[in-house]
């Protein structure tokens, strides 16, 4: 191991709070998801700043207001930072604007996620990519001003027309450079994510927040792996229905919980709209682990074993801890289907455990 890797590992351990809790006061709390704005997200970089004697104002609330306000407005992490800054002098968040693809790459790297091997027959290679190259022809909208100007400037000087007193540069056709898409080979295949959530009374705001964050990262990762990703949202209490994204995260019902209703609807979707021959299928189900009856749990198990698991890439069950939930359903699933390698179950107690459950869900590369 390189020397720097040892130091970096030590730093990460401190950031995670495993060692040296005395440094926690000087640590900026970096959250995995800051904000999913308009195709860019800020990634806070955790920093520990040891206190020093420095000059500074002592006005109330004047903290380390580092960095300009981003275009997308305040992020969650920064908003927290500003609030604490008064008593927390070491706070310092360096924020980085990142593209979605980069974000997925970082996620993949941070959690050591394997690349998914798509199945189905629609795995043709297709071009897609980013504008990172240059070429001499192109539309005006892709003109690279700096490079074009530099060429024009060079030509002007070389041809003896440069006049320092009147520094005028007139670009000609041959000076212009345009941004060019660099090809990246990507499997041309389709995938569908079916997010199912228990919205019965016991799932509170905090539980839904966890589901929301988790769903965001799962979608981000899968979107980086598949050219065409569809997302379907299903909510259920005693009955299940397909809803839009907003409803999914905000609906709150009270009734009882029949999980089989969601699994039946999921099966119906798979049979009618997302046939396994054409689609990679990823159902995710989130609940607090309470089901109506043991009978219903049994029918869930047989639905999974006989119908769903053979058809999907992977079925993930995430159990969110809540004040009222018993957490029984995960135990039942694990007991009934111990060897089903397409079934992944994970328990999430608090936000800090989200990365671990994401890794459990996506770590198998299916």
């Amino acid at each position: 191991m390189l020397r720097i890797d040892a130091d970096r590992a030590r730093f990460r351990e401190i950031v995670r709070g495993r060692i040296r809790s005395d440094l926690k006061r000087y640590l900026s709390t970096g959250e995995l998801i800051g904000r999913s704005g308009d195709h860019s997200v800020s990634i806070p970089l955790p920093q520990i700043e040891l206190p020093h004697f420095v000059f500074g104002s002592n006005d109330e609330g004047a903290g380390e207001g580092q960095g300009e306000a981003g275009e997308g407005g305040e992020t969650k992490a920064r908003a927290q930072g500003a609030g604490q800054a008064g008593e927390d002098p070491g706070l310092h968040i360096l924020e980085v604007e990142v593209e979605f693809d980069d974000l997925a790459a970082m996620l993949g790297e941070a959690l050591a996620l394997p690349k998914i091997e798509p199945r189905g027959h629609k795995t043709m290679e297709a071009d897609s990519g980013r504008y990172s190259g240059l070429r001499v022809h192109g539309p005006e909208s892709l003109r690279h001003f700096r490079r074009s100007y530099k060429n024009a400037l060079k030509r002007t000087i070389a041809s003896g027309q440069w006049d320092p007193a009147r520094p005028r540069v007139v670009p000609e056709r041959e000076d212009l450079r345009f941004r060019n898409k660099k090809s990246v080979r990507k499997p041309d295949s389709s995938a569908v994510v079916i997010h199912m959530m228990d919205v019965s009374g016991s799932m509170g705001r905090e539980q839904k927040e966890i589901v929301r964050i988790q769903a965001f990262w799962i979608d981000t990762w899968l979107r980086s792996q598949y050219r065409n990703l569809e997302v379907v949202y299903v909510v259920h209490d005693a009955v299940a229905k397909v809803v839009d994204q907003h409803t999914f995260f905000h609906l709150r019902e009270s009734g009882g919980t029949k999980i089989s209703s969601a699994y039946e609807l999921c099966l119906k979707l798979v049979r009618e709209r997302y046939r396994p021959e054409d689609w990679n299928i990823y159902p995710f189900h989130y609940s607090d682990g309470d089901n109506w009856s043991a009978r219903d749990t049994e029918s869930c198990v047989s639905l999974l074993r006989d119908e769903l698991l053979p058809r999907v890439n992977q079925f993930c069950y995430g159990q969110v801890k809540s004040a009222h939930g018993s957490g029984q359903f995960k135990k039942d699933l694990d007991a009934a289907l111990p060897v089903a390698d397409k079934l992944v179950t994970a328990a999430v107690g608090e936000k800090g455990e989200i990365p671990d459950s994401i890794k459990a869900f996506l770590g198998r590369g299916r």
């Binding site: 390189l2 020397r3 720097i4 040892a6 130091d7 970096r8 590992a9 030590r10 730093f11 990460r12 401190i14 060692i19 040296r20 005395d22 440094l23 006061r25 970089l45 920093q47 520990i48 040891l50 206190p51 020093h52 004697f53 420095v54 000059f55 500074g56 104002s57 002592n58 008064g86 008593e87 002098p89 070491g90 360096l94 980085v96 990142v98 980069d102 530099k150 400037l153 060079k154 000087i157």
Partner: protein, 432 residues
Amino acid sequence: MHLKRSLPAALKYEAVRVEEAARKAGLDGYEVEFELLPPDALNAVAAYGGFPVRYPSWRFGMEYERLEKGHRWGLSRIYELVVNNDPAYAYLVSSNSRLEQKLVMAHVFGHADFFKHNVWFAPTDRRMLDTLASDATKVRRAIDRVGQERVERFIDRVLSIETLIDPYLPLREMRGGANAQSSERAVQLPTYDLLGFLCERAPLEPFEREVLGCLRREAYYFAPQRMTKVMNEGWASYWHSRLLTGGLLEPAEIVDFADCHSSATVCAPGRLNPYKLGIECWRAAEARGLDLFALRRVHNDVTFLDELVDDAFLERELASCGGARLLPPREGPPDYAGGKARLLQELSWGGLPQIGLVAVGAEGEGELLLAHRHDGRDLQLAQARETLKALAAVWGGPVHLMTIENGQGRRLVATAGEVKTLETRDALRACA
């Protein structure tokens, strides 16, 4: 001429050419040992401040992570990295273009000359590469004896107070024949060399005393770089510009050079750019017909700017160097005298608050009394309290600090666990 061992032939050729031009122009630095590294390896070396071996610390890991992320997402990259040592060590990034490599080399020869001839660098250790490697071994041995956690905790505390040194001390002692690093002298009060005082008088465990000695050495080694940042960067920029445009550039490279040079000297608004401020000062000196080599020998940033900055300079350059805020608009003619005073103040004492040890035992048995020499700028008190706690923990007893907040006298009293802030009139006198 030195062998540039590790460089590929094309770059070796450029290095020899640039070095020849530098010598002809009058630069006389240490030999420069260039090393070519891929960006990620350079980030690792840069995290250690250019030294291949340092003691283990999460701090370097954090720095590496910052550099590495910045590089990977295209937000920042390191152009040059040079170490004050004999021979000087300099790193070239393999992903740079040939023109950029030439520019960096010329820049490095400027620094190497400055390190060798500027008087403030005279007392620095020219075998620092070896010294730091052997200090790292000492720290590792301490870790083996008492465990990483205890050593690291102590290092972190000392790092909090590492600025409490007297940057003028090494030169004074060199002139007086003594050596700043030797432990055979007695610290006289009052002193700014708090680290020296602690080395000598604090009731430390053997491993703590050893680690403190290592960190104090580093603090004194790096201090001149803080005191001469503007001059040094300006000197190197002045020479890379002069050498490259004086015959080292191919005609086809001129425009790219201008692009590259201006991106290094461009200013983020509101922040002084030492490259830009420095190079403009050297050009002003040249325009006045002064002896540049004599100037670079005797000055530090404060005396250098005091010598060269006049009203015309402020009017012409201050805004472009990122110092517009130092000259706020007002009715009538601009306040040049005030602007210059603020500029010098910002650079004085390495840009840090001046805090010294005044008395031992006056406030109570085994209690230290420190005073902040107040020049109109308040301390950031929340941080000061934390720092004072770190100091009290190292000293092993209560520590008092006199300072001023909004014109009111303050006395901070710290033990390792807690800090009290008291109001006091005495501070106004103590901080004058």
